[in-house]
């Protein structure tokens, strides 16, 4: 109880510190002090500390199951394992916003430390602008989503956490995702500050790149965790469904990726200044739009914990204020910063990056329009439509082919001008690509020219990326992320075309076959855990070489709240996953068994990790001067 109070007052102090920082930094800006006073640095530290204390108090309330706290009462239960009590802290609306605030104040602290060698007025301006966002979120949390509301009389038992959220991958998914998502806020503040303080130059680009990479890596990781979770927890073997909630995390990722390529051009050539700023603003706006869409309850999905219109209206208004503010700053300082960028761009890295941005922004617009169009149609014409995978496949897949072709040749271009010499080696790569693609298409058995073209594009990207390993100055960041991306596309494509599935209603003791495998339903057992009971099915798979693989899918019946979930049992090998789920059929002795072959599943995860690794190379390579 007392801890809840501590958390609450800590938040109030945090808000007061923010207001204090805001005024202090504007006074210092006027004074034109050459260095930032320790006072401001200290205050930023305190601000983070207060939010941290508040966050820890909430975690503590969850751990001790303090049901006088409304958030804990609504989302926890004494029988839950400790790990899920802790992750339950951010598995709800109020707690997740506190996490937002924690990351928001944390990145500012990080920024102040990292930017020690940069101009003072730029650092102060960034602090000032960032405080506007921080104050906005403090007020949002305190006014509409206070995590420390008390309930009286104190309840004996909580309502429990949604069982499908009780999962290790999903436990750490929100913090990782938020580091990426909210990390974009500092890019936004710094971009506007750099315009005002006339610091939009090569060294700004060099320094802000860290935060772009930081957000990008964590966002990639967060999306990966979410997909892995969807794959084994939702029980149908898919990992991406173009669900609005997935889309809102993909959108900032796309614009961050575009920004990442742009910022390098700014760093090396002082080009695309205006566009870089626009991308910084777009990226953070998309993060806010995501927060708005998820938190307002407009979307119908597992992520929407609350259905409170006042929250949605607040975020939307706040978002509009921020966009308006950035628009005004952009207009006022436009002429000061942007000189006409002259020069005919020829075959050069600049041109390649422009084309990269062109395609990425197109993909972004497809996802954005596909996500929000149905909402508008519903509001304006009262007609409901679903925009699902067919829409995205049709609009994205054809464009992927030219995109990956440009992506393959882009990195081997030089800045300013490239003299292309077609060497015999280049033909070798093309020949290898063609052989690989024909072989793959033959192997998959999809005799379709469109799929062949997709494979040619993806394999070409893979071989061209690997080919760069032979060069003298290697850029591991780019090689890794491009190789990872091509592997990701190849494995997704292979996965979607050669997945096999069989669904049968059978009793214990019966069996069925898929391809050359025999699936035998051996027995059933009932196990009792602390917070659920489970019905475990024991299955034996005899593969084509008569080896035995054991799989044990479960049906879990959670006690608080009472819900049944189906836990898949997965056997992963390098070439395919064997995936099995069972379900009870009402009033019958039969079980509904779904058995799937999911080829190259593990490669989807591995290639995403390779992409992230590329980002990490870029962070740690900092001091060495290498061409991107």
């Amino acid at each position: 109880m007392i801890i809840s109070q501590l958390g609450y007052y800590s938040l109030i102090f945090g808000l007061l510190t923010s207001i204090f920082i805001f005024f202090n930094s504007s006074i210092q800006l006027k004074k034109n002090n050459p260095i930032i006073s320790d006072k401001i640095t200290g205050l930023i530290g305190f601000q983070f500390f207060f939010v941290f204390i508040s966050f820890i108090s909430l975690i503590y309330s969850f751990i001790i199951s303090d049901f006088s706290n409304e958030t804990v009462y609504n989302n926890s239960h004494t029988t839950k394992p400790l790990f899920y009590k802790i992750t339950g802290t951010w598995g709800n609306h109020e707690g997740s916003l506190l996490l937002w605030l924690l990351v928001l104040s944390g990145v500012l602290l990080g920024f102040i430390f990292k930017s020690r060698n940069e101009p003072t007025n730029y650092r102060l301006l960034t602090t000032l602008l960032h405080q506007i966002i921080v104050i906005g979120f403090f007020v949002f949390v305190l006014k509409t989503s206070n995590p420390f509301n008390e309930i009286f009389p104190v309840q004996q038992e909580g309502l429990g956490l949604n069982p499908i959220l009780q999962d290790p991958a999903l436990g750490i998914h929100p913090p990782i995702l938020y580091l990426g998502y909210v990390g974009t806020s500092i890019i936004f503040s710094a971009a506007l500050a750099s315009m005002i303080s006339n610091y939009l130059n090569k060294s700004w680009a060099k320094n802000i790149k860290f935060w772009i990479l930081f957000s990008w890596i964590f966002l990639t990781g967060g999306i990966l965790l979410g997909s892995v979770w969807a794959y084994y927890e939702l029980g149908w073997g898919g990992f991406w469904f173009w669900d609005p909630v997935e889309n809102v995390s993909l959108m900032p990722w796309l614009s961050l990726t575009a920004l990442l390529h742009c910022i390098v051009t700014l760093e090396k050539r002082e080009l695309f200044k205006k566009w870089t700023i626009v991308l910084c603003i777009i990226t953070f706006t998309l993060s806010m739009v995501g927060t708005f869409l998820v938190r307002s309850g407009i979307l119908n999905s597992v992520h929407t914990f609350a259905n409170d219109p006042s929250r949605g209206i607040y975020i939307l208004t706040f978002l509009l204020v921020l966009v308006l503010l950035s628009f005004v700053i952009f207009m006022i300082y436009e002429n000061k910063n942007f000189t006409q960028e002259s020069g005919i761009f020829t075959l050069s890295k600049e041109t390649a990056i422009l084309i990269n941005n062109w395609f990425i922004l197109y993909f972004l617009s497809v996802v954005l329009i596909g996500t929000i169009y149905p909402i508008f149609l519903d509001v304006i014409l009262d007609e409901q439509i679903s925009v699902g995978p067919p829409f995205y496949n049709k609009l994205i897949l054809p464009f992927l082919i030219p995109f990956v072709l440009f992506m393959s040749i882009g990195p081997s271009m030089k800045w300013i001008k490239t003299n292309f010499k077609i060497k015999a080696k280049s033909f070798l790569v093309i020949i290898f690509t063609l052989i690989l693609s024909f072989f793959t298409v033959y192997f998959v058995g999809e005799k379709n020219i469109f799929i062949l073209l997709l494979f040619i594009g993806f394999f070409y990207l893979l071989l061209k990326s690997l080919d760069q390993l032979r060069e003298k100055t290697k850029n591991f960041a780019q090689i890794f992320s491009h190789t990872g991306f091509s592997l990701l596309l190849i494995s997704i494509l292979l996965n979607s075309f050669s997945s096999k599935e069989i669904i049968k209603n059978i009793q214990v003791g019966e069996s069925f076959t898929l391809k050359n495998e025999k699936i035998i339903f051996k027995k059933i057992a009932i196990e009792k855990e602390k917070n659920y009971e489970s019905i475990v099915g024991f299955f034996e798979i005899l593969d084509d070489k008569n080896r035995i693989i054991n799989l044990q899918p479960e049906i879990r019946i959670y006690n608080e709240p009472e819900t049944a979930t189906s836990e898949a049992s997965i056997k992963t090998t390098l070439f395919k996953d064997r995936f099995i789920t069972i379900n009870i059929i009402k009033d019958q002795n039969f079980f509904n068994v779904r058995y799937q072959h999911k080829p190259f599943m593990i490669w989807i995860w591995i290639s995403t990790l390779i992409i992230m690794l590329g980002g990490m190379f870029a962070i740690f390579r900092k001091n060495k001067e290498v061409n991107i």
Partner: protein
């Protein structure tokens, strides 16, 4: 020489446009098999389970999904085509049930807007690349 360079670049752009148009003209030509089982799956994968959260009827095990699967299978066995099944379902449950929004008066903008933005982006970039000093 300049003129020559310019026409060469124009040619490249033309080739690019032709290539893009060619790619666009490809359509997913999924061959529907005669097995009603596979056909049922193709249809149910494209239908929203109305009582679930973001699941297709194919994936779901809810009563609604199960009865839909049976219904669609029987309709196919009665000799109805995929299109007929879809349109009867849309008539009954509305466009919301189908994951493919299709092209209609309501969804024209949905399809056209991204493509339009792509073209506009292309024009801006072309201007930047071929701008005279």
């Amino acid at each position: 020489m300049r003129m020559f360079m310019k026409s060469k670049k124009l040619l490249k752009i033309k080739i690019l446009i032709i290539l893009i148009l060619t790619f666009l003209s490809f359509k997913n030509t999924a061959v529907s098999s005669s097995f009603s089982e596979e056909q049922t799956v193709n249809i149910t994968k494209n239908l929203r389970c109305l009582i679930c959260q973001g699941q297709t009827i194919h994936e779901s095990n809810s009563d609604f999904a199960e009865s839909m699967k049976k219904y669609i299978k029987s309709e196919l066995e009665n000799g109805k085509t995929n299109d007929e099944v879809f349109s009867s379902l849309i008539e009954k449950y509305g466009q919301w049930i189908v994951y493919d929004p299709g092209i209609s008066r309501n969804t024209l903008l949905l399809w056209a807007l991204p493509l339009l933005l792509f073209l506009i982006g292309g024009v801006i970039i072309a201007k930047k690349i071929f701008r005279k000093i």
